[in-house]
């Protein structure tokens, strides 16, 4: 059954719908409305740099929080019995069946000035918190939406970890902490890296979350790009230039990840 022919349709498909569109972004980024070559789209990047800084900051904080929650969660879950593990994984995936915009919208009801959280705080006698339309709300939205993408890869790496390594370390006299620090954690790094990618990239590029929970107060890279293509500031050439810069960020991140993963299939574990 050695035959390469079945791959032909998909190779053509990839060329037309993956490679050509990315090349089009490059072409648009370096041309103007008349189709002439220009670097103009890259000279007005003041706004870009400002937005980029803000996006990177929020995405980095959200990714760090996700990692802090997901790692212990995945670690403890991996120690439970097979049935618990399976059911828990199902319940991690299940929220995906409820549209993410809708779930984010529900957070609005919770975080609003007269929302559930403040109603609850009022009952206990704590003064209301102002969370909605702040950076904190946007970060919360990111953590909420992308946490499963951090949990899944870390969990699948720890779950498949060869128990004999741990036993060997214990036999050689390592304490609990040492086993974790010198054996378990280093072996789980590929899962951590893949989780960081799967949270960080959607976080820097989101535009719906910032609109709903940030109320236009925090403006992210995704918002900036969306504005150029479907929004008020219609300019696909500038939009392509910004997309190209973001693509570079993604490529840098991918290269870093490839150094850690085993290359071919390190990327996604679902």
């Amino acid at each position: 059954m050695k035959t390469k022919t079945p791959a032909i349709p998909y190779v053509v498909w990839m060329a037309v719908f993956v490679v050509v569109p990315l090349l089009l972004i490059v072409v648009y980024a370096f041309t103007n409305y008349d189709g002439k070559f220009t670097l103009e789209n890259f000279t007005n990047l003041d706004v870009f740099l400002q937005v980029c800084g803000n996006s990177l900051y929020l995405a980095a904080v959200a990714t760090a929080i996700c990692l802090l929650i997901a790692y212990p969660f995945a670690y403890f879950l991996a120690q439970t019995g097979p049935t618990t593990r399976k059911v828990a994984m199902l319940f991690i995936m299940l929220p995906m069946w409820m549209n993410f915009l809708l779930r984010t919208y529900a957070w609005m009801s919770i975080l609003e000035n007269h929302g559930f959280l403040n109603q609850l705080l009022a009952l206990v006698g704590i003064p209301p918190l102002h969370i909605i339309n702040t950076d904190a709300a946007v970060i919360l939205g990111m953590v909420y939406n992308f946490l499963p993408f951090m949990i899944l890869p870390i969990f699948s790496v720890i779950e498949k970890l060869d128990r004999r390594y741990i036993e060997a370390a214990q036999d050689l006299g390592a304490g609990k902490l040492q086993v974790f620090r010198r054996v378990i954690f280093p072996l789980s790094v590929p899962g951590v890296i893949s989780g960081i990618m799967m949270v960080f990239i959607p976080s820097i590029s989101t535009f719906a979350i910032s609109k709903l929970l940030g109320g236009g107060m925090s403006f992210l890279l995704g918002d900036l790009i969306e504005m150029q293509f479907l929004g008020s500031a219609y300019n696909p050439h500038l939009g392509s230039a910004i997309s190209l810069m973001m693509l570079l960020l993604v490529i840098i991140a991918m290269l870093i990840m490839n150094r850690f993963g085993d290359g071919e299939e390190g990327a996604v574990m679902m």
């Binding site: 059954m1 050695k2 035959t3 390469k4 079945p6 791959a7 349709p9 998909y10 498909w13 990839m14 993956v18 050509v20 569109p21 990315l22 089009l24 972004i25 648009y28 929650i69 212990p72 969660f73 403890f76 879950l77 120690q79 199902l90 929220p95 069946w97 409820m98 549209n99 993410f100 809708l102 779930r103 984010t104 009801s109 609003e112 929302g115 559930f116 109603q119 909420y144 990618m197 959607p202 820097i204 590029s205 535009f207 719906a208 609109k211 995704g222 790009i225 969306e226 479907l230 392509s240 997309s243 973001m246 693509l247 991918m254 990840m257 071919e264 299939e265 990327a267 996604v268 679902m270």
Partner: protein, 282 residues
């Protein structure tokens, strides 16, 4: 290593699930609210469920979402499985290159995938005389689905005994028969897994649809996004609640059946072992 977790671990894990399900609980509870408010409870009612089944816009967006997800998942599964089989028999270098390209839509930010496809569709649309619509939406969904199918099927191919196909053909099977009767059953779990992932991703997608569907067609997610500018109708809560409960029920049924089957198998094994011991003692 089972169940030796400290209490703090259990507390943490429960908190994570509470965090994940809190907004979902809010959505479900308020789908039964009597008034339109999303923070004030004014009594139980099935009002929004009745309205839902008369709302043409939401129902048509929902049917668009289902149609595009089913079609995209099926087409992506066929193309992706074929591609995985082809990739598997390639030499290392070309396979590595193709798998790197295969990784692009998965690793890339959704918004860039969406925007780049939009440029392609608008550009070729102007040349060939078509505009954004259901067709472009479907192509976009297939494009971001295939990579996941490829990655779900490839590991199964690696586990496969390479001599299996040849053995079948030695015994007189045609290549086609060898494929369907010998390879397929081995690959099935990977293919089904790929299909499920593809379908789930399509249902949940908003960003790529938003850029590739144009203004004539709307998926449910796009409809919801349009509504967030003013206020989301509780009808959408009602629809999501129905969907959520359906999926939950399906998952539970499938899992209980699986668990039941494994238990039965274990019992049978134990019984067999006992018999074996007795037989040996005689």
């Amino acid at each position: 290593m089972q169940n030796k977790n400290p209490v703090i671990a259990k507390v943490l894990n429960v908190l994570v699930f509470l965090f994940l399900y809190l907004p979902i609980a809010v959505l479900i509870v308020f789908s039964f609210n009597d008034s339109k408010s999303r923070t004030v409870w004014s009594g139980f009612s099935l009002h929004w469920y009745q309205e839902l089944f008369q709302d043409e816009e939401i129902l048509s967006a929902f049917s668009t979402t289902l149609t595009v997800s089913v079609l995209a998942a099926l087409i992506a599964t066929v193309l992706g499985t074929a591609a995985a089989i082809g990739f598997h028999s390639m030499k290392r270098r070309p396979r590595h290159l193709l798998l790197t390209i295969n990784n692009i839509p998965m690793t890339n930010a959704d918004i860039i995938t969406g925007v780049s496809l939009m440029l392609l569709f608008v550009f070729t649309g102007n040349l060939l005389g078509f505009s954004l619509g259901f067709g472009t939406l479907l192509v976009a969904h297939i494009t971001f689905n295939i990579p996941y199918v490829v990655l779900a099927v490839l590991p199964k191919l690696r586990q496969l005994n390479p001599n299996l196909g040849e053995a079948a053909m030695d015994l007189g099977a045609t290549p086609w028969q060898a494929f369907w009767k010998v390879l397929m059953p081995e690959l099935r779990p990977g293919i089904l897994n790929g299909l499920l992932i593809a379908f789930t991703l399509s249902i949940d997608d908003f960003v790529i649809s938003y850029f590739t569907a144009g203004s004539e067609v709307a998926t449910l997610a796009m409809q919801i996004y349009a509504m967030t500018r003013k206020r989301i109708s509780p009808e959408v809560n009602a629809l999501s609640t129905i969907l959520f409960i359906t999926v939950l029920a399906l998952l539970l049924i499938v899992n209980f059946r699986e668990m039941h089957q494994t238990k039965q198998a274990e019992k049978r094994n134990k019984a067999l072992q006992k018999d074996g011991v007795k037989g040996g003692a005689k």
